[in-house]
C-alpha cells in the first residue's frame, strides 16, 4: 500500500515542522536590516556565546521534559556550582581535622564541580522516583535549597578574582569562559559538542528511545521492561550536569562567583525547549529543536539590545514569542492528527477487510 500525500498539504506540514528554523531566519533577517552591525563576525560570535549558555541548559532540560518531568532547579544549581568553584579556587578545600587546605588543579576542580551538579540532579531524581514527589515540587524544592546553600557558602558575598595562583597550581580557570579555539569561544565549542552527543543519544541509543517511551506512556514502559526509575534518574542527572557546567562557565566569564547568579535561568531554558517544539506533557520533542529555540532567544535578546529596545519591552516580547510558539505547536499537533486520520481512513477504504 503506497501512501499518496497531497503535495500542497505536505509542503504545509513541512513549513509547520521547520517553523522554529524559519522563525530563527526571520528574526536574523529582520535584525540584519535594522541594525547595520548585526551580521558582523564579532556580533555573531558574541550572540553565539550568549546563546550557548541557554543551549547547554536547554539540552539537559529537553531530556527531562521529554521524559515527562521538569527541572526548575537548574538556575540555582548553576549558581551553587559557581559558588563552590569560586570557593575552591579562593579558599581551597579546608580539612580542619587534618589541619590542611587542598587546592585543586583547574581540570580537577571542574570535574569535581560537574560531579556535584550530577549529584544534585540525582537528589532531585531520587525525590521524584523513590519518594514519588511531583517533578515540579521536587525541583522547586531543589531550586530553593541550592540557592540557599549558594548564599550560605559565602554569607551572600562574592568570591572575586578567580584567576588562581601560580604557586598553588590552580590558574587557568578564566579560559573556560573567555578562551577561544580557532577563533571561536570555548563555550560555543562545548555547546556544539554536547548538542551532538545529546542528539545522538536521543535518536540512536536505547537510552534515548527509552526517555521518549517513559514520557509517552509510563505504564506501557513498565510492561515493556523499561527501567522507568533509572531512566528518569538519568535525565535529572544530566540536567544537573548541564547546570553545573553553566555555573562554571558563568563564574569563569565573570572571573567571580556571585550567589545570585543564574536566577530565572530555568525559565529561559524551559522557554528555549518549548520554542523548539518539545511538549511539556512529555514524549515529544527534539534536541535540534531546543538548540534552535535557544538561538532564537539569544538572537532576540542581543538584537533587541542593538536596536535599542528597552529591556522592559525585551522581556515582554520574549513572553509573546513563547506563547505564540506554543499556539503554533498545538496547531501543528492538530494538523498532524488530522493527517494521520485521513491516511488511515484512506488505507481502510482501500482494504475491504477492515471496513
Amino acid at each position: 500500500m503506497k501512501k499518496k500525500m497531497d503535495t500542497r498539504f505536505s509542503v504545509g506540514m513541512l513549513i509547520l515542522k521547520l517553523r522554529t528554523l524559519i522563525a530563527l531566519f526571520a528574526v536574523v533577517l529582520v535584525f540584519a536590516f535594522i541594525a547595520p552591525n548585526f551580521l558582523s563576525v564579532a556580533n555573531i560570535i558574541a550572540m553565539l556565546k550568549h546563546s550557548a549558555i541557554w543551549a547547554i541548559l536547554a539540552l539537559g532540560m529537553t531530556f527531562v521534559i521529554i521524559g515527562g518531568g521538569i527541572d526548575l532547579s537548574v538556575g540555582s544549581v548553576a549558581g551553587l556550582c559557581g559558588m563552590l568553584a569560586g570557593g575552591l579556587i579562593v579558599e581551597g578545600l579546608r580539612l580542619p581535622i587534618f589541619g590542611i587546605v587542598i587546592y585543586f588543579h583547574t581540570p580537577m576542580l571542574i570535574l569535581i564541580v560537574l560531579l556535584i551538579g550530577i549529584l544534585l540532579g540525582a537528589i532531585s531524581g531520587l525525590f521524584v522516583t523513590k519518594l514519588g514527589v511531583a517533578p515540579f515540587i521536587a525541583t522547586l524544592g531543589m531550586l530553593y535549597m541550592a540557592r540557599g546553600f549558594a548564599m550560605l557558602r559565602s554569607g551572600g558575598k562574592t568570591f572575586p578574582n578567580l584567576i588562581g595562583k601560580a604557586e598553588l597550581g590552580n590558574t587557568g580557570f578564566p579560559f573556560l569562559g573567555a578562551g577561544t579555539i580557532l577563533g571561536i569561544p570555548v563555550v560555543v565549542w562545548l555547546a556544539v559538542l554536547l548538542a551532538i552527543v545529546a542528539a545522538y543519544v536521543s535518536k540512536k541509543t536505547p537510552l534515548g528511545r527509552h526517555v521518549y517511551a517513559v514520557g509517552g506512556n509510563e505504564d506501557a514502559s513498565v510492561l515493556s521492561g523499561i527501567r522507568v526509575k533509572q531512566i528518569k534518574m538519568a535525565t535529572y542527572m544530566f540536567s544537573g550536569f548541564t547546570a553545573a557546567l553553566v555555573g562554571l562557565i558563568l563564574a569563569s566569564q565573570l572571573v567571580a562567583s556571585h550567589p545570585a547568579t543564574g536566577e530565572t535561568f530555568e525559565l529561559t531554558a524551559i522557554a528555549a525547549v518549548v520554542l523548539g517544539g518539545t511538549s511539556l506533557s512529555g514524549g515529544r520533542g527534539s534536541i535540534p529543536g531546543s538548540i534552535v529555540g535557544a538561538l532564537i532567544l539569544g538572537v532576540l535578546n542581543d538584537g533587541l539590545v542593538m536596536v535599542g529596545v528597552s529591556s522592559f519591552w525585551q522581556t515582554a516580547i520574549k513572553g509573546m514569542v513563547v506563547v505564540l510558539a506554543v499556539i503554533i505547536d498545538q496547531y501543528q499537533l492538530k494538523k498532524q492528527n488530522e493527517a494521520a486520520l485521513k491516511e488511515q481512513t484512506r488505507s481502510d477504504a482501500a482494504d475491504p477487510a477492515v471496513a
Partner: protein, 508 residues
C-alpha cells in the same frame, strides 16, 4: 422512544451500523451483546454524550406524537428526561454524597450564589431512602463501600425524576443484597411508568428482570423481541452469532514438559484482604491455558504479578527451571516471559511514537552494538514482523495513532513477540477489535503453541476460552476455583466456578 438507523463511526472502527432501538414506556428494555458490540456507544448517543454520525432519535409523548430530538449534550438529554447510570463510577470522592448527587444542578438560595446545603442533604436523604439505603448524605464518597457508591451514582440520576433511565451494568460491583434492593427499585420505577434500559452481561439477571430484549452483535442489530418469547440458549446463540464451539480454529495441541510454574502467588489488597491468594499453576510446552473469571477476580493482577509489576506480590515464578520472581521486569522479559496488556492504549502503546519504535520498544537491546542502535537490523526485524503479523501500515515510520484498533493490537503483540518469549501472557487479547483481527490473533496463539511455546490468556468471553484453550483455569475472588481440561469443560461448570465466593445465585 426510538433510535432509528443509528450509525456511529469512530476513527478506525464503525461502532454502530444502522441500528434501530425501541424503548418502551413502563418496561424494562434489556440490551445485550458481547464486548465491543456497540451497547455502550448506543447508550451514549441516547444520553447525549456522543452524537450519531447518521440517524435520528424520536421521542414519543404521552399522546403518541413523535418528536425528532437531538442531544448535543447530556444536559439537553436530561431536560427531556433521560438519565444514565454509567458502568464506571463518575463520582468526586472528596465531596460528600449530597454534593455529588447535586453536582452541576445545585440548589441555591439568596439568588444564585449560595448553595442550599440543608435542602440538598434532605432531598438526597429522601432519594437514598427510596433506594433502600440509609446513607448519611454528608458522608464523603471516599468513605463509602463500592456498592454504596454505585447506589449514589444511581441516586444522582434519580434526582432528576427521569422518564428514561439507562443503566449500564449496574450490578457488576454490587453484593447480592444490593442487587436485590436495586431490582426492587427498578421494578418500582417501572410501575411509575419510567422506561428502563438495562445493560448486563449476566443473562440470568436479564431473564429475571427484563420485558423486552435487544441483541447487538458486531455493531449491528440482531434481534429485538419480548423476553418471554425467547430461550436463554437462543439469546446466547444470537449474541455470539455462531455455534461458539465451531467458530474459532480451536484445536488441541501436543503438549510437552512443563515450561512455566507459578507457586503460591499472593497479592495483598490495599486495606486488607487479598487480590490474589495462593494461586499456583503450570503451563506446558505447546499448551494454551485459558483463565476465566468475572470482573475483579484478579485476572489482570495475576498476569502482572508474574511479570513483577507489583512490589507487594509474593510467590514463586519458574520458567524452564529458572526462578524469576526475584528479578526485575526487564530481566523477566529477557528470560522469556512477556505480557500483552488488557488496555492497549493505556498499557501497551506509545502513542507519541511510530509503529517501528513501538514494535521494538521491548526488544531494543537486541539491536544494539555498544550504545548504538543498529538501524538496519531494527528495520529488518520490524519489516519481518509487520509481514508475519499482517499489520496494515503504509510505512513503519507512520504514527501508531493512525492505525485501527485491530492493527494497534497486532503491534502490541508484535512488540511482545520480538522479545522472543517462551511464554506469552495475554490479557483480553481480542477486546475491542474486529472479527478479522480476532481470528489473526487466534492464529498467532495457535502458532505459538505449535512452536512448543506456552500461551496463557485471560478472557471474559467464555466462547473464546472454550475454543482456544487446552486447559481452563477459573479464578474467583483471587483464588483458583476450578480447573478443567478441554474435554470436560462445560459452560455451566465454568460459570459456577467463577461465581464461587461471590454468593450470587440469582434465580429466574
Amino acid at each position: 422512544m426510538e433510535a432509528r438507523d443509528i450509525t456511529k463511526v469512530f476513527p478506525g472502527t464503525t461502532a454502530l451500523q444502522n441500528v434501530n432501538f425501541k424503548i418502551y414506556r413502563g418496561k424494562i428494555n434489556v440490551l445485550v451483546g458481547e464486548n465491543g458490540a456497540g451497547k455502550s456507544t448506543l447508550m451514549k448517543i441516547i444520553a447525549g454524550i456522543e452524537q450519531p454520525t447518521v440517524g435520528t432519535l424520536h421521542l414519543y409523548g404521552e399522546d403518541g406524537e413523535a418528536e425528532i430530538v437531538s442531544f448535543p449534550s447530556t444536559r439537553e438529554a436530561a431536560k427531556k428526561g433521560i438519565g444514565i447510570v454509567h458502568q464506571e463510577l463518575n463520582l468526586f470522592s472528596d465531596l460528600d454524597v449530597a454534593e455529588n448527587i447535586f453536582m452541576n444542578k445545585e440548589l441555591k438560595k439568596f439568588g444564585s450564589v449560595y448553595i442550599d446545603h440543608n435542602t440538598q442533604a434532605e432531598k438526597a436523604r429522601a432519594v437514598l431512602k427510596r433506594l433502600g439505603q440509609d446513607i448519611n448524605p454528608n458522608t464523603l464518597v471516599r468513605d463509602l463501600r463500592l456498592g454504596q457508591q454505585q447506589i449514589v451514582e444511581i441516586a444522582k440520576t434519580m434526582i432528576d425524576e427521569p422518564k428514561i433511565l439507562i443503566m449500564d451494568e449496574p450490578t457488576s460491583s454490587l453484593s447480592v443484597q444490593e442487587v436485590r434492593v436495586l431490582f426492587r427499585v427498578i421494578n418500582e420505577l417501572k410501575q411509575q411508568g419510567v422506561a428502563i434500559v438495562y445493560i448486563s452481561h449476566r443473562l440470568e439477571e436479564v431473564k429475571e428482570i427484563g420485558d423486552y430484549i435487544t441483541i447487538l452483535r458486531d455493531s449491528k442489530l440482531i434481534d429485538c423481541c419480548r423476553i418471554a418469547d425467547i430461550e436463554m440458549s437462543e439469546i446466547i446463540q444470537k449474541m455470539v452469532g455462531r455455534d461458539p464451539k465451531k467458530f474459532f480454529s480451536g484445536q488441541a495441541h501436543e503438549t510437552g514438559r512443563e515450561l512455566l510454574q507459578v507457586k503460591n502467588m499472593t497479592l495483598p489488597r490495599f486495606g486488607g484482604g487479598f487480590t490474589l491468594e495462593n494461586v499456583s499453576f503450570s503451563v506446558k510446552e505447546g499448551e494454551i491455558l485459558g483463565i476465566y473469571g468475572l470482573m475483579g477476580a484478579g485476572r489482570t493482577e495475576l498476569l502482572e504479578s508474574m511479570l513483577g509489576v507489583y512490589e507487594k506480590a509474593q510467590g514463586e515464578v519458574w520458567l524452564e527451571g529458572t526462578r524469576l520472581d526475584k528479578l526485575s521486569t526487564k530481566k523477566r522479559i529477557q528470560k522469556g516471559l512477556v505480557l500483552i496488556p488488557e488496555e492497549r492504549q493505556r498499557e501497551g502503546l506509545f502513542l507519541n511514537l511510530s509503529v517501528e519504535q513501538n514494535l521494538t520498544m521491548a526488544s531494543i537491546l537486541r539491536y544494539v552494538k555498544g550504545f548504538h542502535i543498529l538501524k538496519q537490523l531494527e528495520d529488518q526485524r520490524v519489516n519481518e514482523m509487520i509481514k508475519e503479523m499482517a499489520i496494515k501500515v503504509s510505512s513503519p515510520q507512520i504514527s501508531i495513532n493512525a492505525l485501527s484498533g485491530g492493527n494497534q493490537q497486532k503491534v502490541v503483540i508484535g512488540k511482545g513477540l520480538l522479545t522472543k518469549p517462551k511464554v506469552l501472557l495475554m490479557d483480553e487479547p481480542t477486546r475491542g477489535i474486529d472479527v478479522g483481527a480476532k481470528s489473526d490473533v487466534f492464529e498467532i496463539m495457535n502458532s505459538m503453541a505449535k512452536g512448543k511455546f506456552g500461551v496463557v490468556f485471560v478472557s471474559s468471553e467464555l466462547e473464546e476460552i472454550f475454543s482456544m484453550s487446552d486447559r481452563i483455569l477459573v479464578l474467583s475472588k483471587g483464588k483458583i476455583t476450578g480447573e478443567f481440561n478441554r474435554s470436560e469443560a462445560t459452560e455451566e461448570k465454568i460459570r459456577k466456578a467463577s461465581e464461587i465466593g461471590h454468593g450470587i445465585t440469582v434465580k429466574a
